[in-house]
Symmetry: none
Subunit: 226 residues, 2 copies
DNA sequence: TATTTCGTTAATATTGTCTTAACCCTGAAA
DNA sequence: TTTCAGGGTTAAGACAATATTAACGAAATA
């Protein structure tokens, strides 16, 4: 299998250098010169790895990263940032925008190649074991690591409680969960919240993911049915 | 009758705490510190209830649960898991390993005791009526978990009272249930409802599932016959 | 600090379920 | 044949459970 790498930088020199070195190693490489183009190219090219400069005209790396992560196909790809050494990467260190790693400029070809190989290795492992941490039921994919839900291609970032409620219901499609049980599972046995709280969260899930997915059994509880 | 409870956790502190509180309530308690020991102790001790941590050395809770369920004597016992809240309950919520319920850590003694009592109450009922969660009698399948009735492939979603009445009658096909008994079982001994109420519910069941399935014994009661 | 997002609740609306009243039917005893 | 007891049937209304909306404080975020 040939791996695909997308390079994004506004300096053509750097793009050429990196591309040359990666292609020499047998990777398929495409390039983009700003964030907006990167998002477009990503959708067509579907790379396993994106190497992206943070500072760019038109749309910066962070923003592009977020946009890509919001695409249904943008969950799996590894995104690594290129940064000037002294650049303030405190912002990205937390990877709030969904970046996985970074590499400091100036970039030495050797180091780049070995890093890329390491990333792609990680990508392979990740997709191997993805089945365990991801639940997939009838077009609805729940990624417990990233706290992200994908429904028929649309990506949702659900708040914690909603996410947990959803994860619970989806864990056994068709099974009815009583209110009592739900309270235990999602809120814990020491927290006391009113019954309406569950309704409201159910409502939000229905709003976001589809009314018909969550069925009410009056006097009993709720169930998820694809 | 004294109930027997088996506690399984790798932390001695927790075992001590739980044991103390349960013994104070009059339960017979034994403990084990990993899954393997739990299975052994179970065979000797034959408890009605097992409280088990999910994460343990040697053999984890899930695996132990499965092994116990595979024993001839492991069908009746109620197995509840101790879990850190927000722990990944996707695996256990589906009860793939045969667990019945769980309680979230940190565990407050009060809550523990009341839960244990509820579980043991359920155990008593369970063995009383041998109410397995699925009943299948002559093309009629009652799935208490999914709260769904299937009759010759057709799926019905019955309201609560109807469902309970049906479940009662079907639990002993051919047996006649007196009106008094039905009132006790479905409505509870404190609720007062007129006699016509039962008729009406029977009517609805006949309408939905077939006239001939529910036979009236005048002056006595009703029975279900496939 | 300013701002936004979350979680919860209160108040109200809405829905499905349960119960009942009123009346009908049947068979057996008077 | 009447009468009566037990059950059958129907639809209306009572009732309880859930839905919905907005609003508030708390928490996270900028």
């Amino acid at each position: 299998m040939q791996f695909r790498v997308l390079l994004v930088d506004d300096e053509q020199d750097i793009l050429d250098l990196l591309k040359y070195n990666l292609e020499k190693e047998g990777f398929a490489v495409e390039t983009a010169t700003n964030g907006r183009l990167a998002v477009q190219t990503f959708q067509r090219f579907q790379p396993q790895l994106i190497l992206m400069d943070v500072m760019m005209p038109e749309m910066d790396g962070m923003e592009a990263c977020r946009e890509i992560r919001d695409l249904p196909s943008g969950q799996e790809v590894i995104i690594a940032f290129l940064t000037a050494r002294n650049e303030d990467y405190s912002q990205m260190a937390g990877f709030e925008s969904g970046g996985d790693d970074y590499i400091a400029k100036p970039i030495k070809p050797r180091i780049l190649v070995s890093k890329v190989k390491a990333w792609l290795k990680r990508w392979e492992q990740k997709t191997d074991s993805a089945a365990s941490s991801n639940v997939d039921t009838g077009g609805l994919v729940i990624d417990k690591e990233k706290y992200v839900v994908t429904n028929n291609g649309q990506v949702f970032h659900l708040p914690k409680k909603e996410f947990e409620l959803l994860a619970l219901l989806v864990s056994a499609p068709g099974r009815v969960f009583t209110r009592e049980y739900i309270l235990n599972a999602v809120w814990g046995n020491d927290v006391i919240v009113g019954d309406r709280t569950i309704d409201v969260h159910i409502r939000k899930l229905r709003e976001k993911l589809g009314e018909e997915l969550f069925k009410t059994i009056k006097g009993v509880g709720y169930k998820f049915e694809p």
